[in-house]
Symmetry: C2
Subunit: 717 residues, 2 copies
């Protein structure tokens, strides 16, 4: 019925909202429900004319048609079963395209938010009583109500979908709200054919796009998961607390949204209301996370365990698949442990979780296990694996390793000639190798070839690539600048190394140095390993393990060498790797006070799923003196910066308990559960990558007189 043509379906936005299109659609009013009769009241049965008019009289005529009373629904469209055979039902939903079954009857799909039902409509006894004609004339995607009788479908026509065993013989039809004849696109057609208009068009008409089964099912799944999360946390004794969104601007302000308020003029002295002398404008800020509020809450003792599905805000350059507002499952717990005693840490029977916060780990694992069990039908192990940051960086070159495949990185320092080992040691470096061998999956071997001189390989500075063949098998190190620079490669056979790495002719080797004490989120070889995996995936044939790989990463360095880009909290040589409230590992407290800053590990933990970080948290500093030491002695904050954390320091001094928590990225989690690449598909009304809302058309300029109320104005005016 309705052809699908992208360009033709785009309504002219300039014309769209100025005029009403009067469509003389049949007016169908309910009279009574009679089994054998089709009772329709057609007034003005001419088809939609498409004429554009805007005079009040036609608005009147049009609108009156829909001010009717109608019966209550008896069932949802997806809820009919063979049990309902013979029952009279009232259904409501959206009328989808007609499928002609014969000259005198047709099938229609009726879809609602729960599923769809097959309708059968037959031609009526005369023109003014013709149910089939009325339904045929109703535009696709119109909101309608039908009354009818449920019949079992012939067995060979049953379908394995909700309501797939039955069909509904329509006895009465009410057009509740006719859809325009020319919609920007037809969601039902997109559902059926998988042909999606551009994302821009779909975001602009999000209310149509959300009608697609995929998006509506994502929204329902999101609600379901949120409910599971809340139920578990409640049963674990958590208290849901709402923290302020109109928060205080912090020294981290660069990524904050400011919110000007009229409060200055409301409470300012009256002398400033005239002339050019205005009060200083005042601002709230939208929080990037409820971190400070939740710590104060736990410090207060008001709740022992806090949670919130918290809206957070970040005003930053549109990074890939980020939204300026996002949601996290935010938790904090009082009296979490500070790590087991020395004995336990040395006990080989405990797993690698040696930091505090086990209570947080327990809850998160329970939460995730329950979600996967209920939503995915997958039973996860009782305990998730734990890996230290040092191990993750060594084996995978990443602090969020994807452990679904091998191709691990190897430290080859010990197989190098002594001269080279000494050079590396003096630099504080080690030499690592990533190797693809003949016994690796063919996709990886082909991927390795494709990577050669690819952009991704080229941008990994300091990486040497060597393609091993029978000619260079024992002196392939010649191909490495890194080795050549320090020793004569001809004087050294790679035989032992080959045996260690499994290298044979046809192998590909990448070599790179890295700092012995790992830093940052990834190494060049770690990035290459992921690029290799992506290539192999594209090539196909890889079988990834079906079960999700959850992994905790712990023992991150607490401080990171300050980067010039980061102005905040980096007056000295060090900045906090995560945030300045993270506690040091108990075992490293002395190191922190002794100036061995780069060796101090924090009580931070990240939860990683298939190489994606889905959450992170830590045990916090609860001792005001320690927090102050970190602020002033390590981060070298000035007085006014420290003062901006004054309420937190004082709260710690009021007997704050040891505490810790975590935040899980809810949008990212849902994108994984909904098997979609973008979080926009799991958010009802998302913004574009650059923060534009194409539906509500925001952000927008505002009137200068509005700005005046806030004592601000356009710059340079």
């Amino acid at each position: 019925m309705h052809g699908f043509s992208r360009s033709a379906r785009v309504l002219n936005p300039n014309r769209l909202f100025c005029h009403s299109r009067v469509k003389h659609l049949p007016r169908l009013a309910l009279r009574s429900f009679t089994h054998n009769a089709v009772l329709l009241n057609h007034s003005n049965p001419s088809p939609s004319s498409g004429t554009t008019v805007s005079d009040p009289e036609s608005l009147r005529v049009k609108a009156r048609e829909h001010a009717v009373s109608f019966p209550r629904r008896t069932h949802h469209c997806g809820a009919l079963t063979l049990q309902d055979d013979g029952a009279k039902v009232v259904l409501a939903g959206w009328l989808l395209a007609e499928r002609k079954a014969g000259k005198t009857w047709s099938f229609f799909q009726l879809k609602d938010s729960y599923g769809s039902a097959q309708l059968i409509a037959r031609v009526g006894p005369n023109a003014t009583n013709d149910l089939l004609a009325a339904m045929s004339q109703a535009p696709t995607e119109s909101a309608v109500m039908v009354e009818g009788i449920v019949h079992a479908r012939p067995e060979n026509q049953c379908r394995k979908v909700p309501s797939g065993d039955v069909e509904v013989e329509v006895m009465n039809f009410i057009l509740l709200n006719a859809a325009d004849q020319s919609l920007p696109f037809l969601p039902s057609r997109a559902d059926k054919l998988g042909e999606l208009p551009s994302e821009e068009l779909r975001l602009q008409y999000r209310y149509l796009d959300l009608r697609r089964n995929e998006l509506s099912s994502n929204l329902r799944k999101r609600s379901e998961v949120a409910h599971i999360v809340r139920n578990i946390l409640h049963s674990e004794g958590f208290t849901e607390v709402e923290t302020p969104l109109l928060f205080k601007s912090t020294p981290e302000g660069a990524r904050e949204f400011l919110v000007p308020t009229r409060i200055s003029t409301r409470t300012g002295d009256s002398s400033s209301t005239s002339g050019s002398l205005t009060s200083e404008p005042l601002f709230y800020a939208l929080p990037q996370s409820p971190q400070q509020a939740k710590q104060l809450l736990i410090a207060s003792g008001a709740v022992d365990k806090y949670y919130q599905l918290a809206r957070c805000f970040r005003d930053e350059d549109g990074r890939k698949d980020r939204q300026p507002e996002f949601t996290q499952i935010d938790m904090e717990m009082a009296f979490v442990s500070w790590g087991e005693g020395e004995d336990a840490a040395q006990n080989p029977n405990t797993d690698q979780w040696r930091i505090g916060g086990q209570e947080v780990r327990d809850v998160v694992e329970k939460l995730v296990r329950t979600i996967w069990s209920k939503v995915e039908g997958v039973e996860l192990p009782e305990r998730f694996k734990v890996m230290t940051y040092a191990e993750a960086m060594s084996r995978f070159g990443s602090d969020k390793p994807d452990t679904r495949f091998g191709s691990e990185i190897r430290d080859i320092t010990n197989y190098l000639p002594q001269t080279l080992r000494h050079v590396l040691a003096s630099e504080g470096n080690i030499l690592e190798a990533l190797v693809v061998n003949k016994n690796d999956h063919e996709a990886f071997q082909r991927g390795a070839k494709k990577l050669k001189k690819s952009e991704v390989e080229q941008t990994q500075t300091g990486v040497n690539r060597i393609d091993v063949n029978s000619a260079n098998l024992l002196n392939w190190s010649k191909g490495s600048q890194l080795i050549r620079d320090s020793i004569d490669p001809d004087a050294w056979s790679t035989e032992d190394m080959n045996s260690f790495l499994g290298v044979t002719p046809g192998s590909t080797i990448w070599l790179a140095k890295r700092s012995r004490i790992p830093e940052g989120g990834s190494t060049p070889l770690g990035r290459l390993r992921l690029a290799l995996f992506e290539e192999a995936r594209r090539i196909g044939g890889l079988t990834l393990p079906p079960e999700p790989h959850f992994l905790w990463i712990t023992e991150f360095p607490l401080f990171t060498r300050a980067d010039e880009d980061k102005e905040f909290l980096a007056h000295g040589r060090w900045s906090s790797s995560h945030h300045p409230f993270t506690a040091p590992m108990r075992q490293d407290v002395e190191k922190m006070y002794n100036g061995q800053i780069n060796e101090v590990r924090g009580q931070h933990y990240d939860l990683v799923l298939n190489g994606v970080e889905i959450g992170g948290g830590s045990v916090r500093v609860h001792d005001a003196s320690m927090q102050e030491y970190i602020f002033s002695e390590i981060l070298q904050l000035n007085k006014s910066e420290t003062a901006s954390f004054g309420h937190l320091l004082h709260a710690l001094r009021c007997g704050a308990p040891p505490h810790g928590g975590i935040a899980l990225g809810f949008d990212r989690l849902m994108a994984i559960l909904c098997k979609t690449e973008t979080i926009r598909d799991v958010i009802a009304f998302p913004k574009t990558g650059t923060g534009k809302d194409l539906l509500f058309q925001s952000p927008t300029p505002t009137d200068p007189t509005v700005l005046e109320q806030y004592n601000i104005q356009r710059r340079g005016v």
Copy 2:
């Protein structure tokens, strides 16, 4: 131990955060758990000195004390029962004031977020092993951990509180985090004595105030109620959907918060980055409610029933007990009815709910009934009462009548002489009376006397007060300007009127005119009735019904005569009483199109509890033509105003179903359930009435360079 003196406890905020106070508190580390021995490790047992120092070395010394490992809790303080008699337990919480039981032993209360337990501490064998001394020296409100043995209390010492049957003999004591010796105030003391410091001080140190039992119990109750709400709505098939907080500025902007964004410079053309030519600043706005988003969501068909505990924002002059951010239980449902058919409306057996949206009513009543049943233990009736706006205004002079007491207003027009009746009729008015008679409760009679010439009585313009005595019993109308102006009161006996109103010597009568078709939220007599009630309450002796009085108000006028104050949506003579998306009553659709605007009733419903409006909603307009007619013909919006609703109008044209919803004020509901006068007591981190956050110190000025990033600057600079 700690005296309570308001002024003395206020820390000097200028000094507070600059320096650490080194307190050489006992360092108590756990060794092992031995039944008969008190194992303490005191190093440096000198009491807190209060000396203010800030050198790094003392920060180090201080902080190391607390970097200890400690055992997991076994119980919450409020969870111990006689069943635990003899058990070894580990408890954590805040140590409260000591009560000496004898020379060698003392009681302490240990409090956590769940309750408190009584501890017994005994003097140790020697000075370095003295558990009692260590606990006595620990400042009140310190975070501590104890290990001990549970003992049943002597029967006469049991108390009817959680853990009231037992006490815990302390075997080991760990000072987890010592509180300052001089806290701004002691929450435990406030709990015990009910002496509250000023609200300003409590808001500034909210993390201490929240430790009070009252506030922490309010937060837990709020979480509990939110959970009940969510569970019911989920079981009713609702889908929780998060709607955008970074929304679009609407023409109603006067009460909105704007949010400037850097998006303009990010995406602007490069030519504008230098010189004084800057891009135009762009703004999101924080929504006052998710009204538009939820209507689009339902229009989309993605979800059939939507809910959200939605954060909403309003930037307005601090009205009594308002917050700039607040929470509402927000719902919307597809395919809600548009009211019963004519037959049903005339059926005397149906109650007064004659509008549509019965589905919303059903859900809300179930929600409220369940909350009251679970939280208050009160079983509410299956159906809440329904009253039309007209009846509420006539009987109570209010659209949110408090029906817990009588003193109803009476229309006395028909008892007036014909001349006066004609005058009133020509004005379109009626004359009403509020009367306090001898058989009314004494508190009301005394209240009526107290009101005489009180401010509240004086400010009700056009109200005549008459005190009836035996001398003026039959011609008290002389005392009324309203009557005197039109007739000769001596020529008219009030005898019939007295009998109608029950007036006898000693009665007090207030008379006032009002428009025959009621308007607005209250009448002068309605306000007087409430003032009378407040006086009577203050006087005391009134017995209010114990059960809450829930009441639906329906059939509000859809449009209100435009008020000069309201610029928005009031270009013509009319503005929307609630919002422009509210549907007219089906029975009044023709009147709307025929220009009888003042007679059109809307499908709006308010839920009122004990005279407080706790929620409101409506069936919405789902027909684009009707919505456009309201915008352009009745509200007389101009094109750009109408265009700002373009997405909504277009969504209606895409086959939007009939729909309706409601929003309940969650903060207000919780204040009622927590029996507190202010919503600040049910919000974790509230702002003052003028929108200031005294804890986080917001709003604040910001740096001009920060504003530059948004292309704005301070006005007049």
